[in-house]
């Protein structure tokens, strides 16, 4: 394998969007009051028996297929033993020897990131350190989260930079949201990373506790810089586990962690073997939702949408869904251009992402229809888009009340242009001798006369015609 200066491998934990936990019927959502969504199974009471949630298996299989994994013929769970209070049983039910999926890949542009394994496991309980993470003498345990279904995606050390790791996470989230197995608005995605650098002889350091795709680049950049600094100061990189502290923006060395051997994995005798038959896989394969790549192809080939618009829109499931709704009512390429440029612009301006987007398809259809019919100018359209960020309103009424209808009557436009030409003879002369600046000046004057309701493009053409 070719070694790059930075080598990163990721273990990503994704919460599956099921109604109930992995091995019991406690709800995964609902009461936030501590220890109110627990039962004998997820509290690890003696004699309780875990039973697999079939929906969680279906979701995990969807992910295995989307990541082009070889799927195991049998589903086997193992016990990973460790003694922290976040697992009441003193072991976590996970998969070890036989993961559900293996040897897959995820395409990032021209590069294929190899997926080592995809396996299912239960989430541990949430621990609170009442007087701070590093000083508290005891922890408060809430088992509501304990037993929630997770899939863990483990990559080969194929990522060559923190930016690439972020792109990987982003792409994975897109796939998860298209598969309908992850709640983009509320679901939790966490990562542990193995980081090594050439200057440190590729000594691996594990960084744990990175939440969300925005934090991954920050955490890894920090860790790469830290390792470079150590080497520069003549220190040796130690094999260790470090914890990312997002609030402070640093990684800290953790106490020595168990080795794989010390986890003492055994097959879980409480859980029966599940056959994963070719029929099961065929059924899931045939019900796989359309993925982002397929949407891009359809947008470009069937809907004649500009490739850049198609790529950007399809890379976000929520954006793509709202676009599909809008596109069924208006001109598709035109709608794509507006949504890609303007919707994203107003969201960015307010520092929001699609999950917080307040603009509904209904308003977008109305707005884009008015624009297409040239009832309002693009300028007015942009302003309405900004206002829609505050909440929905009746756009047609707003345009009428504020007198924003575009001046599209060529007679009226010509009259305004003639007025501007008559009032600014010097600018007209300059334009005749080749000054584009003067043309823009004249267009500006006409725009002012129309109170911003004329299309600058149209005015531009009329002035050119009248002056020449």
């Amino acid at each position: 394998m070719m070694h790059t200066d930075v080598v990163i491998g990721l273990e990503v934990h994704v919460e599956l969007d099921t109604m109930t936990k992995l091995f019991c019927s406690c709800p995964t959502k609902g009461s936030e009051s501590p220890n109110t969504r627990c039962c004998d199974v997820c509290l690890g009471m003696p004699g309780s028996k875990p039973v697999l949630n079939s929906k969680a298996l279906e979701y995990a299989l969807r992910l295995c297929l989307a990541l082009k994994c070889n799927v195991s013929k049998e589903l086997v769970f193992s016990r990973k033993s460790y003694f922290y209070p976040d697992m009441a049983k003193n072991y976590q039910i996970s998969q070890y020897e036989l993961p559900l999926g293996a040897k897959g890949s995820l395409t990032l542009g021209a590069k294929a990131v190899n997926i080592k394994r995809v396996h299912m496991e239960e989430d541990p309980a949430a621990l609170t350190h009442p007087s701070g993470m590093h000083t508290s003498s005891f922890v408060l345990v809430d088992y509501n989260r304990s037993g929630n279904p997770l899939v863990e995606v483990v990559t080969e050390p194929d990522l060559a930079s923190p930016e690439e790791a972020r792109e990987f996470m982003k792409k994975l989230i897109t796939i998860l949201s298209y598969l309908g197995i992850f709640d983009v608005k509320q679901g939790i995605i966490k990562a542990d990373a193995n980081v090594s650098i050439k200057a440190g002889n590729y000594q691996r350091v594990e960084v744990k506790n990175i939440t969300g795709f925005k934090d991954i680049e920050r955490a890894l950049q920090h860790e790469v810089e830290r390792q470079k600094r150590e080497v520069k100061e003549g220190k040796k990189i130690m094999a260790e586990t470090r914890s990312w502290d997002s609030d402070v923006g640093i990684t800290r060395s953790l106490r020595l962690k168990e080795t794989e051997e010390e986890y003492g994995y055994i097959f879980d005798p409480d859980l029966v073997l599940i056959d994963i038959t070719p029929e099961m896989i065929a059924k899931i394969q045939s019900s796989m939702p359309e993925l982002a790549e397929q949407r891009v192809v359809r947008y470009i080939n069937e809907w004649k949408i500009a490739p850049i618009d198609a790529e950007v829109i399809a890379s976000d499931k929520l954006l793509s869904d709202i676009f599909e709704h809008v596109a069924s009512h208006v001109d598709k390429p035109y709608a794509a251009k507006w949504i890609r440029r303007e919707l994203i612009r107003v969201l960015n301006y307010q520092g929001k992402e699609m999950p917080q987007n307040p603009i509904r398809a209904e308003e977008l259809i109305m707005l884009i229809t008015l624009l297409q019919q040239k009832k309002i100018t693009e300028n007015t359209g942009q302003k309405i888009m900004e206002l829609l960020m505050e909440g929905p309103f009746n756009i047609v009424e707003y345009v009428r009340k504020n007198n924003l209808e575009a001046v599209s009557d060529t007679g009226v436009l010509e009259r305004l242009c003639r007025e501007a030409i008559a009032e600014h003879p010097a600018a007209v002369e300059d334009f005749r001798s080749g000054s584009d600046k003067s043309l823009n000046f004249l267009v500006g004057k006409v725009m002012a006369k129309s109170k911003g309701k004329a299309s600058p493009k149209e005015v531009n053409e009329i002035i050119k015609k009248l002056v020449r």
Binding site: S25, S33, C38, A56, F83, V139, L140, Y143, L273, D275
Partner: protein, 94 residues
Amino acid sequence: MEINEELVRKVASLARLNLTDEEVKKFTPQLKDILNAFSHLDRVNTDNTDPSFQPIPIRNNTRHDEPHASLSQEIALKNAHHTKDGYIKGPRAV
């Protein structure tokens, strides 16, 4: 595998048990005896025997993704000796 005091201390630390020196001295021969007793099993020839992970051969038992009522907080915490504001108190581990 040799059962010595070092190993006993290591297993105890993984299990987060604080053993006194006397306890280590007391438990080391006991653990040795237990493991020796089980080592009789090593004499059985298992070359042609498949491993058995389940006592009974049930396969493919799953359940539907339908929520059922959980325990009340009061019942859930009933067996815990140390609780605070609806949480179970535990030792810090990290």
